[in-house]
């Protein structure tokens, strides 16, 4: 039963990693990355590593998406202000 659980979560992680690479738009990729972060935390719990799961949860669910989305916003704003200039 434990084995089945590990297999299920591993396959989900592999699937979401593929999806994260396949999304070419950074904002959409950030959505998949936050999903991947939460899923990795679940995988670490299943592999009996709650400490690592906690830090993955802390980093992956809010911090990394926030950093990526702020960068995306900055670059979008740059693009917009250049269009207005030119």
């Amino acid at each position: 039963m434990s084995d089945a659980l590990i297999v299920v979560v591993l396959l989900l992680v592999a699937g979401s990693a593929t999806a994260a690479v396949a999304q070419r738009d950074p904002a959409r990729q950030a959505l998949v990355l936050s999903f991947l972060g939460v899923l990795l935390a679940a995988l670490f719990t299943v592999l009996q590593a709650p400490d690592v799961g906690l830090s993955q949860l802390a980093v992956g669910s809010a911090l990394t998406p926030l950093l990526i989305m702020l960068s995306v916003r900055k670059i979008r704003r740059r693009g917009r202000s250049e269009e207005e200039d030119g």
């Binding site: 400490d51 830090s55 980093v59 911090l63 926030l66 702020l70 250049e82 207005e84």
Partner: protein, 248 residues
Amino acid sequence: MNRLRLWLLAVGGAGLAALLVAACLDLPGFGGSRHPYGDRAVRAALSRHTANTIASVNFDQRAYDTLGEMSILFAAVLGCVVLLREARDEHRARPEPADVARPVRRYALLVLPVALVTGLYVIAHGQLSPGGGFQGGVVAATALHLLYLGADYHALERVRPLGVYETTDALAVSSYLVLGAAGILAGTAFLANTLLPYGTFNTLSSGGTVPLLNAAIGMEVASAVVVLLAHFLDQAVEIEEEHGRGTP
């Protein structure tokens, strides 16, 4: 050019995949029962009355590693501060105040202290239950940014005197070093856990210097994340390039 690069990638990837699969087949089987280092680490942690073996490995048996990790974090934050500073051809524009729906604003204000206390709980109980300085520090720093999400950047700036956090970051790093050096002064080795009594198993004061190092890391991470996000937020929200001047 592009086709060539893809071919090169395919060949290299296939070679790497073959090597990795060969290595996988040679690794000890998944779920095996032979973990010599793990068993010794657990024994060492128990002998020093630290309930969470991972905290014991991080802050006692391999505390030197954590020093390196902390320096990486410190250096990375320093690098971000340098890279994202306000350049001469930029100016700060005050963003318009945001109009956030009332339930979202109330939720942010109510959850902010709850998340902060939870982060402090995770830091304080790092040597007992799962958690520790890093995890709790990130949670506490994220909690602060609920003010940006639930209101606007101006509100966050009012509760976040950046200088204080930069000083706290440096202080936490040096307190880790001082705690390590105290071991030398006491006549043993750098970061050796012989300074304080080990205390009663499974209480807050158990584990010798582990809780103190843990708290130092917690402070360091929390203030480092706040400083890091502050510079990203400055770039994304406030700093604008001067108009009418073309990019180089």
